[in-house]
Amino acid sequence: MNSQKMLKVGDRIPSHKWIPTELQLRQYAEASGDYNPIHLDDKYAEQVGLGGVIAHGMLIMAQMGIMLTDWLQENEQISKFELKFKKMVRPGDTILCVGQIKEKLGNTFLYELGAQNQEGIEVVSGTASITIKQEKSDF
């Protein structure tokens, strides 16, 4: 666990590696209720010009969420989290999620987020704000 006092601009979150599988896309469809066939049916995905199934954007974001949640200390919570989906992610890709502190504003650290595939192409980019909890859960 990293101590709050030690955090500074430029610090990096330990990266999170993720290799999606077709099975995981199916499990995510069931858990999220998003059964769009572009995530489940290779033939359909080819017919609509995607060249095969692609991962749900929200499953990619969930991986970034795992990285952030692992990094959180007990007295911190995520207050903002946003991503732009830039490139398609497919089963078998190797995705590396990274994050770095960009700015400190009062009791909030602003992180810059990104993820690359095995070819070094950026698949998402975004930001998160992590805030030190106030009394109870309000902040």
């Binding site: 995981q24 499990q27 858990a31 999220s32 954007g57 795992i66 919570q77 207050s79 732009k84």
Partner: protein, 128 residues
């Protein structure tokens, strides 16, 4: 194309209970290390009603951007009332032809009516 008159239109609120079973299933699907904490993106699975008149084409729909703001922590057992509204609809002409951007904002409130989260999704519908 999607009618701009839908901007501002909102769904009726739907009451959701954060169920341990749904959280566990979601956490397992994303391969989260802890299946008891509510993952930050879990709120997207909550029911938020239907916006009358909104029909998004399934084919060619792209999720371009997603933003969450969390005002309170969410835990198993919480009751959250969710609505969604069309925040914006606009068109752009790009390399892929005419694209319609639909911005939907989902809002979750607790029983007291306090904001718990907002989740804003930007979807792009391609013509054809």
């Amino acid at each position: 194309m999607i009618n701009k008159d839908l901007i501002g239109r909102e769904s009726e609120p739907v009451i959701n209970r954060i169920e341990a079973e749904s959280v566990r299933r979601f956490a397992e699907a994303i391969d989260a290390p802890n299946v008891e904490d509510v993952p930050p993106t879990f709120v997207m699975t909550l029911r938020s009603g239907i916006i009358p008149g909104l029909e998004l084409p399934e084919k060619g729909l792209i999720h371009a951007r997603q933003q969450f703001t969390y005002y309170q922590q969410i835990a198993i057992g919480d009751v959250v009332s969710c609505t969604r509204r069309i925040a914006d609809i606009f068109e752009r002409r790009g390399g892929l032809g005419l694209m319609t951007f639909v911005v939907q904002e989902m809002t979750g409130r607790n029983i007291a009516g306090d904001l718990v989260f907002t989740a804003t999704s930007t979807l792009i519908a391609r013509e054809g």
